[in-house]
């Protein structure tokens, strides 16, 4: 379907933009335009290329090919400050604030008001107060250090900082995700004012009702491609979900066994932590693979960390095989039979400069030691078995683990934990950045472990993978489990709809679009 025409000359035009990261396609031949005085939503699931798109517009990364025109002139931004100078200002998801500086310092960091060549603290403070008043958040004291503010207030400061740069094109990347609902209203009002002043606004949000309420136009991205752009009200929510899913190349998954009703190994009851986990209840049975789905950052990672004893101040109950446990550290979690393959294998999963052999045995030294000494014979034996079992492709066990490919590194992390004979295996997006072949090996291994009686809790950002691997999938939204899907219900439409916390039924059921 052709894109809806613009009603006025475009303010920003991208043509033929492509970008690859280490051979992986992030954006492919993207054409995109947005105009002044409009709020333009950018939609797409995890990894669709939205972040890369805005990073290119904001000068954080450079495209491999393609051209960008702003207000009729060809532009290319080498740095974020070059983009700022041209009036392109981005409010990033990861905050760009300096925690030890005050609110006023942060807001004026790029070009502070000066007097006699020195920063004029009083003028700077007034400026901060004015900008905060524009958003309606006068309660933030400009003298406060950003470190001492709660996340929702930091986001307000981030928005004030962006406003201070007098944007012509304002990009909000999930900028409201941490705001309280009262603040969201104020931000809406501010966006409406900016829109009336003729500012072009790009709005990235996973909250569909926000997009519906705000956006004049919307563009859908999928797998690094621009799929379609349409005006407000031309597409139903169900249509949009369908556009976001598209069609995917099927991957081979091991067959799922017929399901009985297994005895729960891990049972979680009313688990809460800080602001990111809200009364989570969940159980994983012996031989079960339970998926954790939903959009990035809805509390899935915190849940895994909480179970692994990393978080302090967790409330609620966790039982392992009927016995209540309260692990206070990863070491304690390990001793009750919990293993975690962490989010970042390079910093949390492996000690990169150490050898493959050292990494493999590091979590199970007790099992191969006699008293305080490591038994070399048993160590070598265990290493050999682990390498054979996971078919890790290595030169020699003495090589640094950093020399392995990403997929084989991830196998080492997993093998390290398998050596501890865990009853519960927590996986934090283990297949990210791994080639397809190794992915399939990992899927097979997961099923094998489950068949041997392990309980597996598997967080993935890839919906296809959740559908293919898991017996059940719990979808998280805003720190809660909003839905558990299993059997026939476990399909992409349901996952995305639950992930967006909207009530879109399968698109083939008539009349569901307006539900």
């Amino acid at each position: 379907m052709p894109d809806a025409p613009l009603s006025q000359p475009a303010f920003l035009t991208l043509s033929g933009i492509s970008k690859r990261y280490a051979g992986v396609r992030a954006l492919e031949g993207v054409d995109f335009a947005c105009e002044r005085g409009k709020i333009h939503a950018v939609l797409g699931e995890n990894g669709a290329g939205k972040s890369t798109l805005i990073k290119i517009i904001a000068g954080v990364v450079q495209p491999d090919t393609g051209a960008m025109r702003l207000d009729g002139r060809d532009v290319s931004f080498a740095t974020p400050s070059a983009a700022n100078a041209a009036g392109v200002v981005c409010i990033f998801q990861e905050l760009s604030l300096m925690p030890d500086l005050s609110v006023a310092d942060n807001i004026s960091i790029a070009s502070p008001p000066r007097r006699f060549g020195l920063i004029d603290a009083r003028a700077q403070r007034r400026r901060a107060e004015e900008l905060l008043a524009v958003i309606g958040c006068e309660d933030v004291n400009p003298l406060m250090r950003v470190r001492d503010l709660p996340l929702s207030r930091r986001q307000v400061v981030e928005i004030a900082k962006a406003l201070g740069k007098k944007p012509q094109l304002l990009i909000l990347d999930e900028a409201t995700s941490a705001l309280t609902s009262a603040d969201v209203e104020k931000v809406y009002a501010m966006l409406a004012r900016l829109k009336a002043e003729g500012v072009a606004i790009l709005y990235i949000s996973h909250r569909m009702h926000e997009v519906e309420a705000l956006a004049d136009r919307a563009s859908v991205f999928r797998n690094g491609r621009h799929i379609e752009t349409f005006d407000k009200g031309r597409r139903s929510t169900a249509d949009i979900v369908q556009l976001m899913i598209g069609r995917d190349i099927a991957t081979q998954y091991p067959p799922k066994p017929a399901r009985g009703s297994p005895k729960p190994v891990l049972a979680v009851d009313n688990l809460s932590w800080d602001k990111s986990l809200d009364c989570i209840s969940l159980s994983v049975g012996a031989g079960e693979i339970v998926g954790l789905g939903g959009l990035d950052g809805q509390g899935q990672k915190s849940l895994l960390l909480a179970l692994f004893g990393v978080l302090r101040g967790v409330s609620g109950q966790v039982t392992v095989e009927g016995r209540e446990v309260r692990p206070g550290s990863p070491a304690a979690a390990k001793s009750v039979g919990i293993a975690l393959v962490p989010e970042d294998r390079k910093t949390e999963g492996l000690m990169l400069p150490m050898s493959i052999a050292d990494n493999l045995v590091i979590a199970s030294l007790d099992a191969i030691s006699t008293g305080p000494l490591v038994d070399r014979v048993r160590e070598n034996d265990a290493i050999k078995r682990a390498i054979a079992r996971l078919q890790i492709k290595i030169g020699a066990p003495g090589d640094a683990v950093a020399t392995l490919s990403g997929g084989n590194q991830q196998k080492v992390v997993l093998a390290k934990w398998l050596m501890t004979d865990p009853r519960i295996i927590l996986l934090n997006d283990p297949t990210r950045g791994i080639d397809v072949g190794t992915k399939q090996e990992l899927y097979r291994l997961m099923r094998e472990l489950a068949d041997q009686g392990a309980a597996i809790l598997f967080y993935s950002t890839d919906y296809d993978e959740l559908i293919g691997c898991c017996d059940r999938v719990a979808i998280m939204y805003d720190g809660r489990i909003v839905r558990e899907l299993e059997g026939d219900e476990l399909n992409e439409t349901n996952i995305i709809a639950s992930a967006l916390n909207i009530d879109a039924a399968a698109p083939d059921s008539p009349g569901a679009a307006h539900a």
Binding site: S81, S96, D100, L101, I109, A110, P112, L143, D274, S329
Partner: protein
């Protein structure tokens, strides 16, 4: 507005603690000293504090940008050795004997003009040494701790080359004028009726080193802190990625931090040479000053992780360290026990700053 004051106090709790600690300790010291609260005691203390206070300020700046400078003691020593040649007050021919060559460098002027020129050269040398440190760190992409370990050894090498054995004779008037009270200063350089002017009497008792310290803090540190580049130094130490994303000149900020450190260390070296009237490439002393400068920074409430703190706090940190050693003198504690007590006090002061760890909710954050 009471709110604002409360916020400022809370944010500067490290400095406030150091000031309070110093005030209490110094009061106790004067109370137990037989000649307490006299100008003579103040003058003596000022002389003993000044060089360490300068090195503490020097160390603060790279630490704020989250880098340690292990060369501050070496820069101090090197500048001191330069001073022992340039501040003699008598015109003298300078020459350089290197690799068997004899190079004449002309005659260095004597008198007041010569001394002022010598001071400028010494301070410029310190700043240059710091600038070199900054360039090695930024363009060599070497971690500050190891870069300055290496350059520090080079600066000590230059100092040893200049003064293989202690020596030199710094102008006596200069020594007298700068290491005593304001009254003595005025008398030596013949101003304010040789210091006898009636209006001058109320301030004549103030030790010159204290005046110098306040002047340097007000004329160098305060403007730096309020400059854009100074702000960038704090930003780099707080979150380098965010500083980059905000379009700040990161490389220039780091070079400026090390250059300013070199300048402060140079001030310390200059004063130490004037105070001892000679130049001495004393390696253990250089090392001790470097380590004490780090201790002063920490006691003064600056985080070794960077981003928060102030050179003013470090001055008080240095004074706390020095006052502790004053106590050893009056209470006649064996010198061999002094490091033990200094260590215990340092540990206690640093523990206060570590209390924040108890509030962390995600223990993974402790390792980031």
């Amino acid at each position: 507005m009471l709110d604002d004051v409360a916020i400022r106090v809370r944010q500067n709790i490290g400095i406030v603690t150091a000031v309070l600690l110093f005030s209490i300790l110094y009061l106790l010291y004067n109370l137990s000293h037989p000649k307490g609260f006299s100008s003579a005691v103040l003058v003596q203390n000022g002389d003993e504090i000044f060089a360490l206070a300068m090195l503490a300020m020097a160390q603060t700046v790279p630490v704020l940008a989250s880098g340690l400078d292990l060369s501050v003691g070496a820069v101090m020593t090197m500048v001191g050795c330069f001073a022992s040649y340039l501040l003699t007050g008598v015109g003298a021919p300078l020459h350089l004997d290197i690799f068997g060559l004899h190079l004449g460098l002309g005659t260095f002027p004597g008198g007041m003009g010569g001394i002022l020129l010598g001071i400028v050269i010494c301070l410029a040398t310190g700043a240059l040494a710091g600038f070199v440190n900054g360039c090695v760190v930024v363009y060599g992409r070497i971690q500050p701790i190891i870069a300055t370990l290496a350059t520090g050894a080079i600066y000590i090498g230059i100092a040893l080359f200049l003064r293989p054995t202690p020596g030199g004779k710094i102008d006596e008037d200069l020594n007298w004028a700068l290491t005593n009270s304001l009254g003595d200063f005025a008398q030596t350089i013949h101003i304010f009726d040789d210091g006898a002017a009636p209006w001058f009497a109320p301030v004549a008792w103030i030790p010159v080193p204290f005046v110098l310290l306040v002047l340097i803090a007000l004329l160098v540190w305060v403007p730096f802190r309020r400059s854009v580049i100074g702000r960038a130094v704090y930003a780099v130490g707080s979150a380098e990625g965010a500083a980059y994303m905000s379009g700040l000149p990161i490389d220039r900020a780091k070079i400026a931090a090390f250059t300013l450190a070199g300048f402060f260390a140079g001030c310390g070296g200059l004063f130490l040479a004037i105070q001892t009237s000679s130049g001495n490439a004393d390696i253990p002393q250089a090392g001790a000053y470097t380590l004490n400068s780090i201790a002063s920074v920490v006691i003064g409430g600056t985080s070794l992780l960077g981003g928060t703190g102030s050179a003013i706090g470090s001055i008080f940190g240095a004074m706390v360290l020095r006052v502790i050693s004053f106590f050893f003198r009056i209470f006649d504690i064996a010198p061999l026990l002094q490091p033990l007590f200094e260590g215990l006090i340092l540990l206690a002061a640093v523990s206060i700053g570590a209390l924040g760890v108890l509030r962390v909710k995600n223990t993974l954050e402790l390792f980031r």
